[in-house]
């Protein structure tokens, strides 16, 4: 909590100051922000959690943390320019301050993932929250079995975290595949082309050892889940992280409800068997 002007304990809704350490371009539309709390404390998050990013004059937006808590000197967020707040964010540079509240939400349940083979699947911006878990796996490889990363983007120009991918692809610890939906004419891209679902059938999966973790746009979930079920994965072995509009992050504003659940508090990470029967969840 930040200190208020009168020195009393600050409200749940008052952001704390956070300094931008570095900003780098991920794509023409996305930037990676490296940050640290101005008070020097670690953010204290777990993979899968989010913060409410606050810019005075531009309100707040929920943004997933894209870095692992094992890297304590900073935290990172990949932010797409898609509205007034994120556009204002994209104008900021190292040394500027923003506000954050959080971390909030249910993280990936690491105790339940440990010891399993992980199939880490993301589409589009979904790689940002999943990167937090991937980095965690990278830093604690002994805790997990085989680690497979699948990633799909719309086009070569939309591929996020290319530098990370280059490292993961050469790492003995990860098996990586990526694809793009389409390649613009004249683009020199030489990787795979096709929907992300095309990456699943060739995989050899032990459904009793594997947990699949999915983060992506809503349109991705049903198709990917169908492919995973063909591989024998049951709903209690599939984890999803859902995007919802959130104005508070603490289960009060009502914008992120999925039937009786509040995505900001009960999620955003869910086991599939918790939400697949709920109207509008996927």
């Amino acid at each position: 909590m930040s200190s208020s002007a009168d020195g009393t304990t600050a409200s749940l809704y008052v952001p704390v100051d956070c300094e931008i350490i570095a900003v780098s371009d991920l794509t023409p539309h996305e930037k990676l922000f490296r940050l640290r709390l101005k008070n020097g404390a670690p953010l204290g998050h777990l993979p899968g959690q989010f913060v409410q990013v606050s810019l005075l004059g531009w309100e707040e937006a929920p943004i997933s943390v894209a870095s692992s808590p094992t890297r304590t000197d900073y935290f990172e967020m990949g932010i797409r320019r898609t509205g007034s707040l994120t556009s204002a964010m994209h104008e900021l540079t190292a040394g500027d301050l923003i506000g954050v509240r959080g971390p909030f939400g249910r993280p990936f349940e690491l105790p339940k993932l440990r010891g399993h083979d992980l199939l880490l699947i993301s589409g589009g911006c979904g790689l940002a929250p999943l990167r937090s878990l991937i980095h965690y796996c990278e830093d604690r490889p002994e805790e997990f079995g085989a680690l497979t990363i699948l990633y799909g983007a719309k086009s070569p120009g939309d591929v996020l975290f290319k530098d990370d991918f280059a490292l993961w692809e050469t790492s003995a610890r990860f098996a990586c595949s990526r694809t793009v939906d389409q390649v613009p004419e004249g683009d020199c891209y030489s990787g795979g082309v096709g929907l992300i679902t095309s990456l699943i059938p060739p995989l050899e999966i032990d459904p009793h050892r594997t947990v699949a973790v999915l983060v992506g746009p809503p349109v991705m979930y049903r198709a990917v889940i169908a492919e995973l079920k063909k591989k024998g994965l049951s709903s209690d072995r599939i984890v999803v992280s859902l995007e919802r509009h959130m104005r508070c992050g603490v289960g009060k504003c009502g914008h992120c409800t999925i039937e009786h659940l509040y995505c900001c508090q009960d999620g955003p990470v869910f086991w599939l068997n918790e939400i697949e029967h709920l109207r509008g969840a996927l």
């Binding site: 930040s2 200190s3 208020s4 002007a5 009168d6 009393t8 600050a10 409200s11 749940l12 809704y13 008052v14 005075l56 004059g57 531009w58 309100e59 707040e60 937006a61 797409r80 898609t82 509205g83 994120t86 911006c125 746009p217 809503p218 995007e243 919802r244 509009h245 104005r247 508070c248 603490v250 289960g251 009060k252 504003c253 009502g254 914008h255 992120c256 409800t257 999925i258 039937e259 009786h260 659940l261 508090q265 509008g280």
Partner: protein, 328 residues
Amino acid sequence: MKYLSNEQIPDFFSSLQATHEVRLPIMLPDGTRCLGHPGDGTVALFGGALPAKPTAAFFPHEGPVFVAASEGFTEPSAPEKPLLVVGFTSRDLACLRFIDRFFAEGWRDDIYFRNRQGALVVGVSGYCGPGGASLALADGDCDFELVWDRTRWLVVSHTGAGSAIVEGLAETVSDGTLERLRKEMAVYEDENEKAIRRASELIRADRVPDTFWSEIGDRCIACTGCNLACPTCTCFGVQDWRYAGRVKRSRMWDSCQLDGFMREASGHNPLGTEGLRTRRRIHHKLAADPDRWGEISCFVCGRCDAVCPTGIGIFAVARELIERFGNI
């Protein structure tokens, strides 16, 4: 048992202003009733539930979150004196109990409790409804209750704080009037309450098809009156107001009947049709909240039906739903 004559009511509440920030029903020049301060108008305890939700005293339609300036954040302060809010019917009190729990559980909403903490709540009941109709006794959920027996206000305290307020009243009665009123109120069976319970059963049993919600949604003009009138609607949005040298962040009531309520930055909208939004409004009260909180969150106050210009308040929808799907 204490009592007050109707003539004593204004002075009684005016006297409490020394220690409390008093809000009570007053009559406006146009004949409507609303919460106001003593002296703002004629005290108007008669007439039943206030048109606007009295829970707004604690969760106002718009309120500050903080003001940010170069010297830091300034949060709104709690009222100098605790609030004392008069005019809650038994149904309003049930709504207040529900939202108290909602704002307290999980992350405690300090903005709500800044007003609510230490506040005194005063119920009204007895034969003070519209045209002298009866209002059920609250018998709790408030600090004290004013019960109109057609000649006087019986003053029934339910908490220590309530007793401390009314102990100064000199008069006492113990003639069994309260017990008689309690029995008289108990014989009334509320058809709307039965309809709400039955509609909840049908929705939770998945007996209501999407086509029904589309039909109801087609009648919605997105005026948001239902949400703004409902004492258990607590959804809010956030807005920053920019001034020279400072930014005020405020929060204000929001409505799930608006297209942008759930629209995400990506453009994906889980409530992208009128039908889905109307289903959400009703389903949340009658199915989602029972699943989460263990009780239906419509306490049958009737405000949404009173304000809806197209006749799709929750009673109307419940009755139509029962008529069409109750015997399938």
